[in-house]
Symmetry: C2
Subunit: 388 residues, 2 copies
């Protein structure tokens, strides 16, 4: 037993597995030794009770059974990634506190999967509106070949994953517990579906409970695995705001979806836009623009529907605007009503007639009816005639 | 008749009334003469057919009857303000194309009324949500002593006016037609109520129709009369976006209320936030902050509801988070579960017990139930235990 333990503990991969069991994510003293001397050395220091850090690095030593842990990893069908593996997502190296190792449940290359990805996160207590927007973003991103990264939580996270799955797209769930379990349990099927086509990943070993501190640590993984983080709905205390903060801290763009100001589940999103450099995003094109390289995914600017009157010069416009709808005006009245130089009136009338915007009868003029069947024509006309 | 006409036309105030009849708002050539030589001289130049500008400055001369216009002004109960009057709102002098004169229906000093004011504008085709937000902003601004400036249009404008009236506050309606009429006609009573407690103002003379060009011109008056402009709801073609543009062009702050991304009536607001320096505003405090002088109206930053756990240090927090709800853990198990140095555990447990966050029984520990009757306690606990 002791020999077996030693063999595993001298292997960098399994030493890191042991570390992930012994200390919580983001344990500074341990991470510093790992960075300087590697996981095997860090584990040996703990074994020999000369580790950096205080008593908490020893508190789980009695419970460590690395053979059993390795068996549990295998039994759960997990792979263990460590820095240097081809599949290691190098974005994780941006973290000041990277995971000791990354547990993966997937048949796919995780580095490739997350290379072009967006984190879509938000409130568990989401509104119907938020769920719809998250699902649409998940689906739209998947359709455009982007991987959706999220946390498999109730609400926004699940809607985003499901949207991506609905579009046969790739999605990655980052869990705060051991990957031998599903959390939340109600999402067992969802998590299985994510693993089947994308990946389920995490930094704590099989058997680890989803403690709050692990959720907060997990959020930094969601943020840096993606090129940008979008918060769809968030109350002022939502954990998804910490994901946004992690993204910002790592100089990754953050988007926030607005919602009704009367909705507490949008308050966190509005705060992000007001108080940080988060960008207001309204649809998948906005999100792709946020996450994409310069120029990639840049759609045309939003333009209002064109109206024929857009093409008019100011004089033509004034004449057209002043023309009545039912009555007929002689030219001199049209000039007076619109405040137009009578000398410029004939040219303007000619243009307006050619464009089908005015019609004449016996030398008198009125607005022409818009082409029949034009969508929303009545509203368009009303708008154009009054305030717009 | 000719003598009477001459007397009025030699009076700066009435000469400007005549100009407001003869030429449209923002007529550059006329405005330049008015700025250099005054309204009397500009009118005389038109009379003598040596005016700057083309034929459009003469087209309404045959229809000009200044005595009749003056009688109409008096009959409608209007006052005429010109630059130099004590009541002239000097904000109007910021405009490159100021009104020739300002028609006022009010018993109140318009300069005082607009000194501390916010323009609240938006779509005519507003949603129920937008109407509610506009009414709340109108009411909240009025309660805080701010005057609400708007355009008396259907939808957002009317809701904002009505909100201010509901709070017995002052509100100013800027019309695009002569003030002898109400536009829209359905708002006749609203406009009368605005005039009774605040003011109805405009730059075109009695009898003038609400032509489209006048609406666009009117929007610059709304923008500069106020210290800030807030767009509550706006489609991508909404005229209220031109009001926002005027405010921006005059270096006045612009706010936009977000809404569901699924609502076309919020698309213009979202564009303002995305593409301009418009500030996302969610409530009256945000609006007052936008419009107020530095420090005025600055409320406390939005803070989530405080939880007892906010006061904990990381060790205490980890211990509390790892403690079970129903079962009881001995200290060593609590240390292992939370990854805490056992030497630091007693101090943490003492703090958590004093704060009422953990309870013990026979030396074993679990989370304490929150104080009975605390609002939303169940949700608070659930949140704290998992993702938050």
């Amino acid at each position: 037993m002791s020999g077996g333990r030693s063999a595993l503990e001298r292997d960098e991969r399994w030493a890191r597995v042991a570390l992930s069991y012994l200390v919580e994510p983001k344990h500074g003293p341990t991470l510093r030794v790992v960075a300087d001397e590697g996981g095997v050395a860090a584990l040996a220091a703990i074994r020999e009770r000369r580790a950096a850090g205080a008593g908490e690095v020893y508190v789980r030593v009695p419970g460590l059974d690395l053979e059993a842990l390795a068996a549990a990893v295998r039994a759960a069908g997990l792979r263990v990634l460590v820095p240097g593996d081809a599949e290691w997502p190098t974005q994780l190296d941006r973290l000041s506190a990277p995971p000791y190792c990354l547990y993966v449940r997937s048949g796919t290359d995780v580095a490739a999967l997350t290379e072009r990805s967006v984190a879509v996160v938000g409130s568990r207590a989401a509104s119907e509106y938020g769920l719809r927007v998250a699902a649409e973003l998940g689906e739209g991103l998947a359709e455009r070949g982007w991987t959706v990264v999220s946390g498999a939580a109730f609400g926004i996270d699940a809607a985003a994953h499901r949207g991506a799955l609905a579009a046969d797209g790739a999605t990655v769930a980052v869990l705060a517990c051991g990957l031998d379990r599903a959390y939340p349990r109600a999402h067992e099927r969802l998590i299985r579906a994510v693993a089947a086509t994308g990946a389920v990943v995490g930094e704590v070993p099989p058997g680890a409970e989803p403690l709050r501190g692990r959720f907060l640590a997990r959020n930094r993984l969601i943020a840096v695995l993606a090129r940008a983080t979008v918060v769809v709905e968030a109350g002022l205390r939502s954990g998804s705001l910490s994901t946004a903060r992690e993204a910002r801290d790592h100089l990754l763009p953050v988007g926030a979806v607005p919602g009704p100001v009367t909705s507490t589940t949008s308050a966190g999103c509005h705060e992000l836009v007001r108080e940080t450099d988060a960008v207001l995003v309204t649809d998948v094109a906005d999100v792709v623009e946020l996450a994409g390289r310069i120029g990639e995914g840049l759609g045309p600017a939003r333009r209002p529907e064109a109206l024929p009157s857009d093409a008019l010069d100011p004089t033509e416009y004034a004449v057209w605007a002043a023309a009545p709808v039912r009555r007929w005006f002689p030219p001199e009245r049209l000039a007076a009503a619109s405040g137009t130089d009578p000398a410029r009136l004939p040219a303007a009338l000619a243009v307006l007639e050619v464009l089908g915007l005015l019609e004449q009868s016996d030398g008198r003029w009125r607005k022409a009816a818009p082409p029949a069947g034009r969508d929303g024509e009545r509203r368009g006309r009303e708008r154009a005639w009054t305030n717009g």
